[in-house]
């Protein structure tokens, strides 16, 4: 007998079961509180100290960080990097998801394997592989030189373009997995119905498929955005240190100059700015799904 039918047969026990569910979630909640919330509070507390030795409480670290216009540019660049990566993964990933839903089951498995395969490699390895691809003597430049398209090697490493290209590949599984899981649940009859009612393929795509796949798209965007804005290794190895993003500032302040209060301010700025964009994205997602259903 399934749990669902248990509930129907024994409605009086519902309250007790709910308590049990709440208890089941307790270990994870406690682990979150201890391992995530407590350090976050500690981070918040650390940011309200003026000196590196963490002895004088005050707002100096906040005023120093936000008194410097350079840091606003760093925050903005970090968020823009995330948005550019999200756009690139959507533009490339969405057609792949569309192809996926039309494939026979066996080929779907192959495609899923191809999508997940890069995740089996560490980010560090994938990042260093991009040095070999984008470098001055890398695959791309060698090919273009050989074809005669260019006479001098292009500068691809240590540019934002190179960084967005590599992040797009590195973060692609995070976009595709939620997108595919939502899209493969779409009822194929809806497309036929749309066609039967005279809608073109494009109209069906934009008025039926895209709105229905919105939960997956939004989830993918959130994951890619959060992951690419905090991708310290890729940002510093592919982008170099002329492209300055918040993770680099946090690393420098915490592990190079040991100014933990300032590092805490930079960390909280990253958390807050990334969370605000994520909140905005999920609000848009909810609004579009309300629009669809109501």
């Amino acid at each position: 007998m399934s749990v669902a039918s248990d509930l129907i047969d024994r409605p009086r026990e519902e309250g007790r079961l709910r308590l049990a569910e709440w208890q089941l979630a307790l270990p994870l909640s406690l682990a979150f509180a201890a391992l995530f919330l407590a350090p976050l509070l500690l981070l918040g507390a650390t940011s309200f100290f003026n000196d590196e030795k963490i002895t004088q409480p005050g707002f100096a670290s906040w005023t120093k960080f936000f008194g410097d216009p350079f840091n606003y540019k760093v925050i903005l660049d970090t968020l823009l990097l995330g948005l550019k990566t999200v756009c690139a993964t959507v533009v490339i990933g969405y057609p792949v998801a569309l192809v996926y839903i039309d494939l026979p089951a066996r080929l779907q498995k192959v495609l899923i394997f191809i999508i997940v395969m890069p995740m089996l490699l560490s980010v560090v390895v994938r990042t260093f592989a991009w040095i070999v691809v984008l470098g001055r003597e890398g695959v791309v430049n060698q090919l273009l030189l050989w074809l005669g398209v260019i006479s001098e090697p292009l500068r691809l490493l240590q540019t934002e373009l190179g960084l967005v290209i590599s992040l797009t590949q590195i973060e692609m599984p995070l976009m595709l997995l939620p997108l595919i899981s939502v899209m493969s649940r779409l009822d194929p009859n809806l497309r036929d119905a749309s066609a039967a009612l005279g809608a073109s393929r494009w109209r069906t795509l934009f008025t039926v498929i895209v709105p229905l796949s919105m939960p997956g798209l939004v989830a993918g965007c959130l994951l890619v955005f959060a992951s690419s804005t905090t991708a310290f290794i890729s940002q510093t190895v592919i982008g170099g240190v002329r492209l300055i993003y918040l993770p680099l500032v946090i690393w420098q302040q915490s592990l190079v100059v040991y100014n933990w209060p300032l590092a805490a301010v930079a960390s909280l700025s990253l958390v807050v700015s990334v969370l605000s964009v994520i909140a905005a994205l999920s609000y848009l997602g909810r609004r579009s799904s309300r629009h669809l259903h109501g």
Binding site: I131, E137, L157, Q158, G240, L255
Partner: protein
């Protein structure tokens, strides 16, 4: 054969049991020591760990961390050191001393004490290797530069890879460059001004750890670095040569320190004794490790820019107690000047 709960449990217990065996065999204990990632890690795992095991029956556990990361982790641990022995460059060493992270060190406890030059141990630790900072270049791509100033001129500047003030070699090189343009030990602004003028031409501005990789991939063909990195790249078959700049190469010593509050004090001394021993230093001096030895019984390899350790006293030595307080602001300046 069918696998039921009983056989599975028996199997798992047996597996778990075997994992306890090495623990029983290693009754003499262990020591956790930091090492720099890369060549240091390879060398210490391959050379030092077996020697320590053979001589004193001590297991060496290595934690690969850059100097700054070690200080950060030790400070964060607040009195419960995550490792027993540090390996540090002069700058982070001073930060460690100021933060009271080291146990008082007594060099006389090392049986190899007499084999070390005078002054190689103090109350904080022992010097275990020397490093020389200069210029590395690819002889197949560019002619040999003569001094720090050449880095800013053609044809070198357009093939130049630079790093900031995060590392000892980066800070040393930028200070030396600054001195050429009227700067000093405590004034690096001239170097940043000159670098900014040629910034669009510079081939790469990267994190220190990324530089050997960028050089290997031909992204840059000239960089400031230390003799050991050059030797390691050479060992991989990469075209690279070391140049001692006209104004002098910068020399410094890498030191090891016992963490305050360690539970493995005796084993830590035994470890350090093996590190500075003739056998270990001799083995570390050879390719592919190419360390500069500190034991008087070990001869310096011929490819080094100096014939003896005494000669190193003529090299440029920087006062890190004056540099450290300024480093945070330098790093910030470097960020701002170099940012796109």
């Amino acid at each position: 054969m069918t696998v039921n709960r009983r056989t599975l449990l028996a199997g798992v217990t047996a597996l778990g049991g075997t994992s306890l065996l090495p623990g029983i065999a290693h009754a003499k204990g262990s020591v956790v020591a930091t090492t720099y990632p890369g060549t240091w890690e390879d060398a210490y795992r391959t050379v030092i760990a077996p020697m320590l095991k053979k001589k004193d029956d001590i297991d060496l556990e290595l934690a690969p961390l850059f100097a700054m990361d070690q200080i950060g982790k030790a400070k964060a641990a607040r009195g419960a050191p995550p490792f027993d022995v540090f390996v540090l460059d002069p700058g982070p060493r001073i930060v460690g001393i100021e933060a009271g992270l080291f146990d008082k060190f007594d060099g006389k406890k090392l049986s190899n004490f007499s084999k070390l030059p005078a002054g190689f141990t103090d109350e904080y630790g022992v010097q275990v290797s020397a490093q020389v900072v200069g210029i590395a270049y690819n002889p197949k791509k560019v002619p040999a530069p003569k001094g720090w100033g050449d880095l800013l001129k053609d044809p070198w500047v357009s093939r130049l890879g630079i790093t900031g003030f995060q590392t000892t070699f980066g800070t040393s090189a930028l200070i030396e460059l600054s001195k050429l343009f009227g700067g000093s030990l405590t004034n690096v602004d001239p170097a940043l001004v000159e670098l900014k003028k040629v910034l669009p031409k510079i081939a790469a501005v990267g994190l220190p750890a990324a530089m050997p990789g960028l050089f290997q991939q031909g992204q840059c063909d000239v960089m400031y670095t230390n003799t050991q990195t050059v030797a390691t790249l050479k060992g991989k078959g990469i075209d690279v040569e070391f140049v001692k700049p006209e104004s002098g190469a910068v020399a410094f010593y890498t030191t090891m320190h016992i963490a305050k509050g360690t539970g493995e004090l005796a084993n830590s001394y035994k470890y350090l004794d093996v590190v500075v021993s003739k056998d270990a230093q001799g083995a570390l001096t050879k390719p592919p490790y190419n360390f500069i030895p500190v034991n008087k019984d070990v001869e310096l390899p011929p490819e080094l820019p100096m014939k003896s350790l005494d000669e190193m006293t003529k090299y440029v030595q920087l006062d890190w107690s004056k540099i450290n307080p300024l480093r945070a602001s330098w790093i910030e300046k470097f960020n701002k000047e170099m940012a796109k």
